[in-house]
Symmetry: C2
Subunit: 153 residues, 2 copies
Amino acid sequence: MNIGEAAKASGVSAKMIRYYESIRLIPTAGRTGSGYRVYSPTEVQMLRFIRRSRDLGFSVEKIEELLALWRDRTRQSADVKRLATDQIDGLERKVREMQAMIDTLRHLADACCGDHRPDGPILADLGHGVEHGSDCTTQQSGKAVPVQHFHSR
Amino acid sequence: MNIGEAAKASGVSAKMIRYYESIRLIPTAGRTGSGYRVYSPTEVQMLRFIRRSRDLGFSVEKIEELLALWRDRTRQSADVKRLATDQIDGLERKVREMQAMIDTLRHLADACCGDHRPDGPILADLGHGVEHGSDCTTQQSGKAVPVQHFHSR
DNA sequence: ATACGGCTTCCCATAATGGTAAGGTCAAGG
DNA sequence: CCTTGACCTTACCATTATGGGAAGCCGTAT
């Protein structure tokens, strides 16, 4: 199996397979005489494992741990469970942060009539913080909350 | 006001102020004779506007639009409202995706006893269990859902 | 033989931010 | 007057995970 076939079979792009090899997430692939990488079904399976883990939001760093557990015959399911619940906690924290942003934005949008007046409360609020007596105080201390930014893909 | 004071007053790091200038999000700052950047209260206010918008999850690209509206005296509040609701929609979509990940993970974690048995269902599911003889029926669609990855900061 | 498609490596780009290094500047104190 | 320390400047590098592209080799079908 060459890299293209392995990519199709695993759902991981050839580019990413090479990348995973370069960062040693996966072992160095074997080569044909002419230098083509070759993959066994076992390696494709590992790629699928990685792919699925990425789909579940695990970072490459976490996947390294998961792979170690996967390979380790002496692993204990509690270890795996801990990784999973940590991941859940992280995701839930992010969800809460985003929900807070949504609440504030909805509050601002509701106060904005969407009409043709030359000024709405949103920009004023953004510029001056709390104004108009609005209680957009979901914004806590002066310290910034780590924020995720999203680009549509 | 030099860059350090402007940073403190706006909550935007000096590093990021220079970055915003370099990408032309903010106009080129004035300089003292010796080359120090100087900031007026108006510019500090713009930085605060940016900072608050970032806190609400707007990308720099979106903030460019918001700033244009902020500066444009002929702006219509409907335009601002549209940006806000678009942002809400994007955030909600991401929340739904993450919730789906959480559900899947919780399902896996619940099925995992957290005990000392040398194997749990999580790894088998992630890897499609080929190694341990289970079938591949846990596999869903081959198409990936766009996924966010989170690093704790 | 030739063309096409797949493979290789290497370099570049993304978004937003932090870090570091080498050097100039300013204000206070000896 | 000179030193010290805090602050400023630019420039470069790193991060995460991924895609794009070029230049060149390889394999197969016509």
